[in-house]
Symmetry: C2
Subunit: 415 residues, 2 copies
């Protein structure tokens, strides 16, 4: 048995206890929050090693920033864990129930998923966030973080494991894989005897690798090629505000937009206003021929590949479309199915867009930046699912559960 | 582009229409039912070719029986399709909704999954059953059946496609892969650009191959290593009736039991009665040492591997356990998580078993044979999920849907 298989086995045993742990889970979470603060110094010390090494390796300042854990961020982690503790228990809820003609009572109740694997990159606070969410939903978790944050992750995991043990729950409810080689994440992807689901959190490359190689069911998260469509009946002022917000408030995240589509009848008046606003943050536009006719040659010519690209930067593709159907078709072809928006004052166009656009979140007259577990009121978020199976859109603790049927009888047999 | 990729592309286009097809889906289903009856002769003619070839290849009589489509079975298929048409539409239902503090209205609604792939073995009626369920839930389907039934499947698919076209929906809502080589099913497993989910229906070997090789999300179905635990407080008469029913009413199906666990305090009185009943159908018992002490050497000694085996036959493993905890631990180790039963008159034991046993369906005092979409009142069933992601237990049309968030505002941006 490999080290990772051993971990899987221990996690499965821990999961049996967690599935019936009830309010002990909250005690454990509150103890974790306390322990993170009490041991902040040790965590920061470990984090400093990661930062040193990162600088030596020439990580960019923004990566170093994501890696850094100051006292404020550790307080943020502890607060986050306490907030998760305060949420209602997602386990043991009755989803539905009925009595069959033969008298059998069938009840469908929520249960934990079991053992969850999480493969994540740079940010060490994911260790605490993800483990807390998994624990709250009664799941054991095996975390496999990136090598840049290994000292920080190890320190955080140690603190959490001790706190869990102190609460009377199994220490192995939370485990961290300390081997950060590619081999360890490959082994995790093969662990179908023990893992119920694997969630990759990170860049498109990581997610693709996990989806393609995992034998364990995967929840795909996070890739967002999002659009705003400015309809013929749009309020131009509103459209330009929404586009500006959706592109520039945080360009590096998945719910930021990458392409705008503009109805031909409004393009002449709308495009200059949209561009004026975007110019204040030096957003680079890449436009179709009609866009460039209207806005001039300062707009770079868009290539086909631009419409497929998640820029995650101050770059925005732009295309003038003939109709709402043209916009919907464009989205069907190029979108990653994350968040899509129409700006319109027309009732029928709004309804058509809502019905026909296939995405986790479809917006009318609001910024796509709201696609987020916190904003949607889920309490906290483990990721944003862009697949259709199991969960779609922001996933909170409810999406970390499964269900079972309880069937109660008095001797019924099937004839 | 390969033939299978072409099919994927066409399916995705068809799925766009189906997602907003509303009651046209029911017209299409009723036309399919009519067409199956009208073209019964052609279908039977094609089926005869498969039967001839099957006999030449030396298929067993039971496989030949599963392959055979008489007029009664075609009528059964047509009735099944009409029944699916009569079910409520699973698409467009509101799951939840709320208004955020900023005024955004968030509504979660059911939508089709999109494109579903189904890989199945012998029985040609799966072609009609599965396609009807997918269509009802607004999904396009790509079917890949086994080579033994290829002529029958092709004839059925042709009839269905023509009927769908007649209803005004895209013909490619239903497609059948006529190439039955291993290559075609491998290609289907790689089709992640077009397929939203892949459902294998067949033996354990097929399912394992799909789970391990598919890049498309899979719903695992059907493997059932099920148990009945006879508690210390069991009604022995009831226990032996339930065991007899769960083992012998149809041993070849996944909800039949494979092992019984008997509390040591009741074993002496219960085991002979259980055996007496099972003897009437010549069920072979494979017992632990204590079982053999009680029942004698006519009971074969069970090996460790027996407890892992889905016999699908008149064979039953038997183990005497020290306590309910022993039974629950045995099930946690050996069960496939399909259906598990306790027979008891004790309230606390019943509750403990219901809570702690991790399976798609957990029974108190009733036969595991009820785990079935039809029995549970789902109308019809596409399979029984034994995984925890997305759907668990019998899956009906509601399990062939996903959801999306509709977010409606009046210009909200995220600060």
């Amino acid at each position: 048995m490999t080290v990772i298989e051993e971990m899987g086995k221990k996690a499965k045993e821990a999961a049996r206890f967690l599935s019936v742990a009830g309010s002990k889970k909250n005690s454990a979470l509150n103890l974790i929050a306390d322990a993170l603060l009490e041991n902040a110094e040790d965590i920061i010390k470990a984090n400093n090693i990661d930062i040193e090494k990162g600088k030596e390796k020439g990580l960019t300042p923004s990566l170093i920033d994501r890696l850094t854990l100051g006292m404020d961020r550790i307080k943020g982690m502890a607060d986050g864990v306490r907030k998760v503790a305060s949420l209602p228990d997602p386990v043991g809820n009755i989803i539905s129930g009925n009595t069959l003609p033969n008298g059998l009572k069938v009840t469908k109740v929520t249960v934990p998923l079991g053992v969850i694997g999480i493969i994540f990159e740079a940010r060490p606070n994911v260790t605490a966030d993800a483990a807390a969410l998994c624990l709250k939903a009664g799941n054991a978790v095996i975390l496999r973080g990136g090598k840049e944050a290994i000292n920080s992750n190890t320190a955080i995991a140690k603190v959490m494991r001790n706190a869990v043990e102190k609460s009377g729950l199994p220490k192995d409810s939370i485990q961290l894989i300390e081997d950060t080689s590619r081999a360890s994440s490959n082994q995790l992807m093969q662990l179908s005897d023990y893992l119920d689901v694997l969630i990759p959190r990170g860049g498109a490359g990581l997610i693709k690798a996990v989806v393609e190689n995992s034998k364990v069911p995967v929840i795909e998260t996070g890739v967002g090629n999002c659009h705003v469509y400015v309809d013929k009946y749009a309020d131009i002022e509103m459209a330009s505000e929404i586009i500006f917000n959706a592109k520039t408030s945080r360009p590096s995240v998945c719910n930021a937009i990458e392409t705008i589509l503009v109805h031909k009848d409004i393009a002449m008046s709308a495009l200059p206003k949209i561009k004026e606003k975007l110019d204040t943050k030096n957003v680079q536009l890449r436009g179709c021929p009609v866009t460039r006719e209207i806005l001039g040659d300062s707009v770079i010519a868009a290539e086909e590949s631009d419409y497929y690209t998640e820029f995650l930067d101050y770059i925005l593709a732009c295309k003038v479309v003939d109709s709402i159907d043209g916009a919907i078709s464009h989205i069907a072809k190029y979108s990653s199915g994350h968040s899509e928006c129409i700006v319109t004052d027309n009732y029928e166009c709004a309804n058509k867009f809502k019905e026909q656009v296939d995405a986790a979140a479809v917006y009318v007259n609001a910024s796509t930046r709201f696609t987020d577990g916190g904003e949607f009121g889920l309490g906290a978020e483990i990721g944003i699912s862009t697949q259709k199976l199991h969960a779609r859109g922001p996933m909170g603790i409810n999406q970390l559960t499964s269900s079972k049927f309880i069937v109660e009888g008095n001797g019924q047999i099937r004839v």
